[in-house]
């Protein structure tokens, strides 16, 4: 057969191999597919042959082959002569629209990378993905393939790849279970990864020990959201112990002031100034009289607190001092 030509053939659906590595997208037959097959107006599917010309491999039209199988009908096929990577290109041209999320294309990225066709990826995937998504997927393609499932199950966002790629192979193995066991939103995953990376680069504690402690939290009887909060708290404590201890003591001391529920404290960003502001909403039940009474009630505690607050931030007091 001429490489640039194709011919049409009718085959039994059982003659068509439907598990080739370039079949990234498979759609189950719909009612419309069945209706078309029953009325003999189904479009042809694409197939190619192996070198010996004995077997036929599907290029596109999985739903039609499956539908024909179930209805006991034959399949009309375009038979094409293509190289391995061209089969993937033809498949994508026909079925690429079935990919809804960038993560749906990760197998496709790996297919081209494994076959040394990195240069073709951007132009092939351009109709389906943005340049940034392609760039991220290309980087993701260098992670062990076991990470793909985390992307597809949305346990981890593609945006995290720039931090992930900074970890060494053995470090990736250590952190993998944290994402296997919990589903992380983008920002929290970034915070975790950033913290882990900085802790590992600092080198005073082993990443393996830290991950062991974090994994333990994953198995506690807590909601997933609580597990994530505890893990991030732990990370903050290990990464910035002094700041963490200060924040903890600060909120303890503020809560000891037993304020009315409607009161909220606002603190200067990064504790850069000594200013604190208290916000109170006044209404029919809680008016000026109640406010004055409450303020008088916390006067002494407030003065002690503020002395402590300015003392610690001004480097004159230790965090645990009163």
């Amino acid at each position: 057969m001429n490489r640039n030509s194709f011919f049409v053939l009718t085959l039994s659906p059982h003659q068509i191999e439907c598990s080739a590595p370039w079949l990234f997208f498979k759609r189950e037959p719909s009612k419309l597919t069945y209706w078309c097959i029953e009325n003999k107006i189904q479009p042809p599917v694409g197939v190619c042959r192996n070198d010996e010309g004995e077997s036929f491999f599907l290029l596109w039209g999985y739903d039609i082959v499956e539908g024909c199988k179930r209805l006991g009908r034959e399949v009309t096929c375009y038979v094409m002569e293509l190289s391995l990577w061209e089969r993937a290109v033809v498949h994508l041209k026909a079925e690429g629209h079935l990919g809804r999320e960038p993560s749906d294309f990760i197998y496709c990225i790996r297919f081209f990378l494994d076959r040394g066709r990195k240069d073709k990826i951007e132009s092939i995937l351009a109709p389906f993905l943005s340049r940034r998504e392609i760039e991220f997927l290309l980087k993701w393609g260098h992670l062990p393939s076991s990470w793909d499932v985390l992307l597809q199950t949305k346990h981890l966002s593609l945006d995290c790849i720039d931090i992930l790629k900074k970890f060494k192979a053995d470090e990736l193995e250590e952190i993998y279970p944290l994402f296997e066991l919990l589903s992380w939103g983008r920002n929290k995953a970034m915070e975790l990864l950033d913290g882990l990376l900085e802790i590992s680069r600092r080198g005073n504690v082993s990443l393996s020990d830290v991950c062991r402690e974090l994994k333990e939290i994953c198995f506690r009887d807590l909601s997933p959201a609580d597990k994530i909060s505890r893990i991030l708290e732990k990370i903050r404590n290990i990464r910035s112990p002094y700041l963490f201890r200060f924040e903890r003591r600060l909120w303890d001391r503020l809560s000891q002031m037993r304020l009315n529920k409607g009161w909220t404290w606002n603190i200067s960003p990064g504790f850069e100034t000594d200013n604190l502001s208290l916000h109170v909403r006044l209404d029919k039940e809680y008016g000026v009289r109640e406010l004055v009474k409450d303020l008088a009630g916390i006067k002494e505690r407030w003065e002690n607190f503020y002395k402590w607050y300015c003392g610690v931030l001004g480097g004159r007091k230790e965090i645990d001092e009163d």
Binding site: E198, Y242, G270, F271
Partner: protein, 357 residues
Amino acid sequence: MKIKQVVIEEEVKDSEIVRCSLKRLSKIEDKVEITYVNSPTPSYSYSHALFFLKYRGKFFKNCPGTRFYNCCGYKIIHIGENCPLSCSYCILKAYFRHSCLTVWANIEDMFDELSRLFSLRNSLFRCGTGEFTDSLALEWLTGYSSRLVEFLADYPNVCLELKSKVVDLSWREKVKDPCQILPAWSMNSVDISLSEEEGSASLEQRLKAAKICMDDGFKVCLHFDPIIYYPGWEKGYLKTLEMIFDYLSPSGIAYLSLGSFRGMDRLFEYIKEKWPRGQYIYWGEFIKGMDGKKRLFRPLRVRQFRFIVERLRKWGLDKEMYFCMESDEVWRAVLGYTPHDLGGLSNHLKRLTFSIR
């Protein structure tokens, strides 16, 4: 940095700076590729290229300090961008959109602008060239500072600070009045200087140069910026302080600044990426400051500042010390007063600068 390529904008190819630099370069480098371009902006990112371009903006600028912290009111004479030295913590790497080492070659335009400004004899100008580049790192090639020093001789109301991490004292030959020039060197802990300031002169060389200047009648400035937090920082900074005490005398210091390591997220990412040895970014406990830059948590900063200030005070410095971009809270905690108590930091430093005369 070894210069392997020189990129020259056509419009300035005949300027004195370019002609003189090419002549000097040809004496030491055999193979330097010279390219002429029409593009007015440095758009290449060659790591071994030096760009001679025409600057089309104002050469005299305010320091880009934010309103959230106390700025010293330094005025910049903009002679170029980026730096041939390779300090890991350098904020310039995250500050400019490009990484091209650039010299503004239209020095005549600069002198025109400055002469108009400095002719206002009632105004005093404390200015420097070491904000967007090292004042002296390319002096061996361009002689820029020497020309500037010579030009300023006609303007006694101007004091120029030459801030550097290298030792090049060639500009001294052009000085008529030493009171007009403030040679300045960046200081850091011995450890940081050794590991993070690639291409710079050693602290000892810098201090020896400062001593020569002091002996010649110049007052000098020292800048502890960025002060970096790492295990054992006390020992490292103490060693540097002891070296300062050995070489210099407090009466010869015009002023000394202290600034904590800080920067945009981009700088931290850059250090993580390009300087894997830059461990200090993992030791510091950083917060996001009021200006959006990351900086060390305040009590840790205060601890470092206090450590250095106490020793400098014992040595004999007092109101000559100031902070670069710090809050009133930090000033009060460490020095016991705020810039407001000094009548404003910019005015205070101007007084220190010009009372020399």
